[in-house]
Every structure is written in structure tokens, then in C-alpha cells.
Amino acid sequence: MTIALEGRARRLGDNINTDYIIASTRKRDTLDESVLKRYLLETVDPSFAASVRPRDLVVAGRNFGCGSAMEVAATVIVAAGIKGVLARSFSRTFYRNAINNGLVPIECETADIREGDRLEIQLGGPVVTVADTSTGQTVTGTAVTGIMLEILESGGLVPYLRRAGRFHV
């Protein structure tokens, strides 16, 4: 069981909280991610959303997704076409919301990854490998294993439950 991702690095800093990923004031008007994705990370960088290309990978520093447990912070990233988030560390709620929506969270050293670098990622083994083909460097990250990996492979918690046939107590 392996998952491979490939894409362009989009650099962010430390402590990107879920309000920064999508402002609560935007959620007031709609919860439709196809609309909300226009405002992705606007508090951090108003030009970010317009510059996102499908298969971009978010690369952040420490404590990505801290703050509110709102799941739309993960689903709006998915709606923007981003398949994975790399960070030195994650908040627990964001980490789980990501997995439950098929967004791959990768905990690894991100300091040397630059904006625009090409990344190739493999997970499913004992460690996650992140190859930066722009710099030639490879870092390893914390493995995603067990049921977490199965949920990711299923594309999220809902498809996982349906596949596993777990509907009731």
C-alpha cells in the first residue's frame, strides 16, 4: 500500500491557524468549498488563492492547522486541488481532518524546501520520503500507518467506512 504525490511547493510559515486557512467571516456567506477556495489563506497572502495550481503542495513550518477544529479548513485545501500538506508539525485536529478528507499530511523537516521546488513524495513504507528534485535533497518524515493509511487510501473517512462496511455499533 503506497501513495505517491508529485507537485510544486507553496511555502508558508509557522502557526498557520485554521482561521488563516479560511477566515470565519467568509464562512458566514457560504460553506461551499468551490466558492471558499477563492479566499484560501487570504489573511496570510491575498494573492495565494489565485496562484494555486492543481497538485500544488502546501509546505509550512511548525504547528500547521492550529486553532479551531473546523473541518472546512481541510476541505477548502482539497477543493483548491492541493493533495498534500507538509509541515514540521501539525495540530491534532487539522491532522485528523486532513486524513478524514483524503488530504495527505506529511510531518517532516521543511526548512530547506523553497517556494516552487518540485517535490516527489512516497508514503506507505516505514517512513515517508520527500524528494526535492529542484535541490536534489531528500528528507524523511513520520510514517502514516495502520488505519490512518487505509483511510487516506480510501480517500477519506466516509469512503473508508463504506468500504469497510462499518455502519453501526
Binding site: Y20, R62, N63, A69, E71, T93, V158, R166, H168
Partner: protein
């Protein structure tokens, strides 16, 4: 064998095991599953789980689900009103018992409503689609925030899948707090020390004589903001005060299981706080761990004061504010908004005259709700304005405007500052 922390003991029991070790992956049975308006999102995912099957989507146990409207009350738009209507219909169809609508007799902010309604029990597993679900650890429960999809699975299965047994940080607080220094100052100081990620994937267990002497209202403040250091949950060992609160303030009858840590419990880290020397603390923009003693930011001009939220809108918080403002006036340079944490708090504050004291001083008493704290329902800031608030987050844009700033503090600092229109030390 080494002993277990409170969290380990709760998770062992919730999984029918004699013991669990840190790092084990378990599927604890859930005793209480709470949502607010985002129950609408949970409903969507819940129905999605069953799509394409012949099964009727039915919650595992309607007596264990609580839904409390608090984020946008009363509805500010037709969209919110329609969402709330859909949730009401679901509540009725699924026979969900613990539903708190927009009502003056039983409504309020979910975390306060759960505590005062006697839904929180020591030793139980509580999940909520709200990060501040950590609050309920104040009554000895293992309580944590989850997303809407995870809650949908809980509604179906009655269990949380793949929960890692967390390591625990023991925080020992000792000494008597000085006048006008309180639980908010303890937790802000702790977050400043641990940083916003210092307790990620861990539980903070609170110990020490300051905690033993602290009432439940104060313990709720500590556990509420444990999540701002990244903690999965905060927890206070259940004791005589827990029993007193549950019996006399939450009308709980029946047996209570006061789960406590084993003497040989293993903690990843021990942090000691001397409460006696603690000054009032302020978290500065735009990060909750950017904490300074009030003396470092004294004199900063402010435009809006907020007392309220799941953190600091309880009766003793309003009492503190009323004591400071009684017979005096809120500065003309500032507007002051007060959001009691629940309608029970509102009614008691009304009966005791606190609300009259606050309104006569110039404060505006709002209906209970959390919308102001996250900038989605009243109390927004103007460009360039600065708020001083007893709420729990000060991220850029949090109070509805990215061109504004929010400082976080205790009710005493907030009320003292209301008199001057600048950040002020309540001790002087």
C-alpha cells in the same frame, strides 16, 4: 507495571481493557457527542456514510448526543436560519434528547450548557465538533475536539476510530493567587511558556494546591484554553469540588466515578507554576502564546472590550466585572460588550444585580453566544481598532477584521481597562 494517567484510565475503561499504554491506538466508546450549528455539516456526512446502502441513517444513541445553538444566535441571516431549521428537524426525527435551542430558559454557549446541565461526568469520554471541547476535562472527563466527518462516524458507531493514547504533561500550580489574579492568568502564563504547539497531541493534567482550592468555574477556564497550547485535552482530577459542582449546580444524581491518576503514573514533562507571584497576563496580537504581564502593555489604547465566551463569561466573571464597574463609568473612548456564557448565567447575574451594574456603567449586555469571539455574529472591529477581550483567540482577523488587533486577558483586566479606555492593571 507503571501506573496510568487519568486519560489512560479513562481510555482503558472506554475500550474494555485493563490498561492502555501511551501510543496505543484505541477505539473508545463515546459517552457524550456534542455539536453546535455545525451539526448541519455532521448531518451531511452522516447521511453520506449510508448512501447507496439499504440502511436508514440512525444515530447510535440519541441520549448521548447534545446539540446546542450558540455560534449565530438568534440567526443573523436566512442562510443560518435555514440551517438551524434543518438541524431542528433532524433532532426531532432522531429523537436527540439534549437539544438546546435559542431559548432564555436553557440556551447558551455549548461548553457552559454541557457543564451546568450535568452532561459532563468524571471518567467519561466526551467529543465535540469544537476545539474548545477540552473545557470538559475540568470535570474529570477526557474531552476533545473533532471534525464534522469524525463526528458523523461517532453518530453511527458510538466510538471514535483510531485514537492514539496521548502522553500527558503534568502542570503543578501552587500558592495563593494575588487579588485580581485568576485562572485566566494561570492558563495564559502556561501557554506563553509551552507555546502554541507545546502540548500538541498531549494532554495537560492540572495538579497542585491552587487547583485543589479552585472552583469548577476556574477549572473550566484552564481546560478550555489547554487547546491553545495545542493540547488534545486538559484535565483536572475529579475531587470533592467536582462532586459539589455536579450535585449542587448541575443537579446530577447517581453514582460518580472520581477517576484519578495512579501514584506511579508516567508524565512526559512536569511544569511548575508559582501562582503566588503571578501577575495579570495579557496575550498580545496575533498569537495566543505571545503573553506578557499586564504591566508590559499598560496604557495601550483600546476601542472595544469584550467579556464573555466559553472561556470567561461565567457568573464569577460577571461578578468581577460588576465589582469593578459598579457606580462608575465605562470610558467614552471605548465600547464594552458583555456576553454571559449561558442564559442561566444571564438570569443569575440579573438576579444578583450584576447586569444592572454593568449596563448602568455603560456596558452593553448581549445575549449569550460565541459569534463575537470569532467574528461571525455581532461585535466586529473597525479598521485599525484594538480590542481587549476575555475570549480565547487573538489571531489576525479573529474578531471579524484582519486590520484590527485583539489582546486577550482576564475579566478583571478587561473591566479595569473599561474605566480608562487603555489596558490597565486591576491591582491599582
Amino acid at each position: 507495571m507503571s501506573g496510568m494517567t487519568i486519560t489512560q484510565k479513562i481510555l482503558a475503561r472506554a475500550t474494555g481493557r485493563a490498561s492502555v499504554a501511551v501510543g496505543d491506538i484505541v477505539e473508545p466508546a463515546v459517552d457524550l457527542a456534542m455539536s453546535h450549528e455545525n451539526a448541519a455539516l455532521v448531518m451531511n456526512q452522516f447521511e453520506e456514510i449510508f448512501k447507496g446502502t439499504s440502511l436508514t441513517p440512525t444515530v447510535w444513541d440519541p441520549s448521548k448526543i447534545a446539540i446546542v445553538f450558540d455560534h449565530r444566535v438568534p440567526a443573523e441571516s436566512s442562510k443560518t436560519a435555514t440551517n438551524q431549521k434543518k438541524v431542528r428537524e433532524f433532532v426531532r426525527a432522531q429523537r436527540i434528547a439534549r437539544f438546546h435551542d435559542v431559548r432564555g430558559d436553557e440556551g447558551g454557549i455549548c461548553h457552559q450548557v454541557l457543564a451546568e446541565s450535568g452532561y459532563d461526568r468524571p471518567g467519561s469520554v466526551i467529543v465535540g465538533t469544537d476545539s474548545h471541547t477540552t473545557t470538559h476535562g475540568a470535570l474529570g472527563a477526557f474531552a476533545f475536539g473533532i471534525g464534522a466527518t469524525e463526528m458523523a462516524a461517532v453518530w453511527a458507531l458510538g466510538r471514535v476510530l483510531n485514537v492514539e493514547v496521548p502522553a500527558t504533561i503534568k502542570v503543578v500550580v501552587s500558592g495563593d493567587l494575588a487579588p485580581w489574579v485568576g485562572p485566566k492568568d494561570i492558563i495564559l502564563s502556561l501557554i506563553g511558556r509551552l507555546t502554541a504547539e507545546g502540548a500538541n497531541f498531549r494532554v495537560i493534567e492540572f495538579h497542585g494546591d491552587t487547583i485543589e482550592w479552585m472552583n469548577t468555574s476556574g477549572r473550566l477556564v484552564l481546560c478550555n484554553m489547554a487547546v491553545e497550547a495545542g493540547a488534545t485535552s486538559g484535565i483536572v482530577p475529579a475531587d470533592d469540588e467536582t462532586v459539589r459542582f455536579l450535585r449542587s449546580e448541575a443537579a446530577v444524581t447517581g453514582e460518580l466515578d472520581l477517576v484519578c491518576a495512579d501514584p506511579g503514573a508516567e508524565y512526559e514533562e512536569v511544569v511548575e507554576i508559582n501562582a503566588a507571584t503571578l501577575a495579570p497576563q495579557v496575550a498580545c496580537p496575533h498569537s495566543v502564546d505571545h503573553v506578557q504581564p499586564v504591566t508590559a502593555v499598560e496604557g495601550r489604547r483600546i476601542h472595544q472590550i469584550v467579556i464573555g465566551s466559553c472561556t470567561n463569561g461565567r457568573l464569577d466573571d460577571l461578578e468581577t466585572a460588576a465589582r469593578i464597574l459598579r457606580g462608575r463609568r465605562v470610558s467614552r473612548d471605548v465600547r464594552m460588550l458583555v456576553f454571559p456564557a449561558s442564559w442561566r448565567v444571564y438570569r443569575e447575574a440579573m438576579e444578583r444585580g450584576y447586569l444592572a451594574d454593568l449596563v448602568e456603567a455603560g456596558a452593553v449586555v448581549m445575549n449569550p453566544g460565541c459569534g463575537c469571539c470569532l467574528g461571525i455574529h455581532q461585535g466586529a472591529l473597525g479598521d485599525g481598532e484594538v480590542a481587549l477581550s476575555t475570549t480565547n483567540r487573538n489571531f489576525k482577523g479573529r474578531m471579524g477584521n484582519p486590520n484590527a488587533e485583539v489582546y486577550l486577558c482576564s475579566p478583571a483586566v478587561a473591566a479595569a481597562s473599561a474605566l480608562t479606555g487603555t489596558i490597565s492593571d486591576p491591582r491599582y
